[in-house]
């Protein structure tokens, strides 16, 4: 697929970079003049995916790297969040509402549910011991039509 515009950044899997990740995506798509609702939905979905990489992929060790890619085609935003962490053994289970792989933490288990609700499409690919890739898309402007 050919995109009108693309960007990619990588950063250390540290909690303080969650804000950086969602801000950089917002800055990148600003040229499309998104409404506040679309912007908030995308910010939240990016935050969830990056948090998953940090606390599940790398188990909060700050030892790895998270790659964030964003593409634009017409009025649709495509986002990929990828890590080289431990991977997900059972993707359907991990995507179930309220399921958390970190019962030791105060996690709500709603990360993937929020991504699916706030974006039009969410795909997850993962290999145990190799990493996880979350690919999401959202067409801008639909919220205004609702």
């Amino acid at each position: 697929m050919e995109y009108d515009n693309e960007m990619e950044v990588s950063f250390k899997a540290a909690g303080e970079n969650e804000a950086f990740a969602r801000t950089v995506v917002c800055a990148f798509i600003l040229g499309l003049d998104p409404c506040i609702r679309d912007m908030n939905d995308i910010k939240t979905a990016v935050s969830e995916a990056v948090t998953n990489s940090i606390i599940h992929g790398y188990f909060g060790s700050k030892s790895g790297c998270v790659r964030l890619w964003c593409g634009i085609s017409k009025t649709t935003v495509y986002i990929e969040v990828a890590d080289d962490g431990k991977g997900i053994e059972n993707i359907p289970l991990a995507m179930e509402p309220l399921y958390t792989g970190r019962p030791d933490m105060e996690r709500s288990g709603l990360g993937f549910t929020i991504m699916q609700s706030f974006m039009d499409d969410v795909k997850v690919e993962s290999a145990v011991g190799k990493g996880t890739r979350v690919f999401m898309s959202k067409q801008l402007g639909r919220a205004e039509q609702e």
């Binding site: 909690g15 804000a19 908030n40 935050s47 105060e106 288990g109 549910t113």
Partner: protein
């Protein structure tokens, strides 16, 4: 990002300024718990009127404080929700266990 507290009778009001993500939730969790224990309050009211952004980490943090107040026989409430935060409360089902009020005063009256 900042957090401040007000002690009102049996109610601890938690004022949060900034984005509540995993990083910030981790930072404030212990501070809220320490303040709750020190104040002896059995109810917690979160004033989120200065929170522009929250994700599921914020939901987890609020549920954790809800469990604390439940054990004390009290309750947890939230006020000052933006449209985005309201959407998150509805999606997560949090509104079923955490009461939403228009103001801190309204939440305290309900105690």
């Amino acid at each position: 990002m900042d957090i401040s507290f007000e002690r009102h009778k049996n109610c601890l009001v938690v004022n949060i300024l900034g984005d509540i993500d995993h990083h910030f939730a981790d930072l404030v969790r212990d501070r809220i718990d320490n303040e709750a224990v020190e104040s002896g309050a059995k109810n917690i009211v979160f004033d989120l009127s200065k929170v522009d952004f929250m994700d599921s980490s914020g939901i987890g943090m609020i549920i954790g404080r809800y469990k604390y107040t439940l054990n004390k026989g009290g309750f947890t409430a939230v006020t000052g929700l933006s449209v985005n935060l309201k959407k998150l409360m509805l999606l997560s089902g949090l509104y079923r266990i955490i009461k939403i009020y228009d103001s801190v005063e309204a939440a305290e009256k309900a105690v």
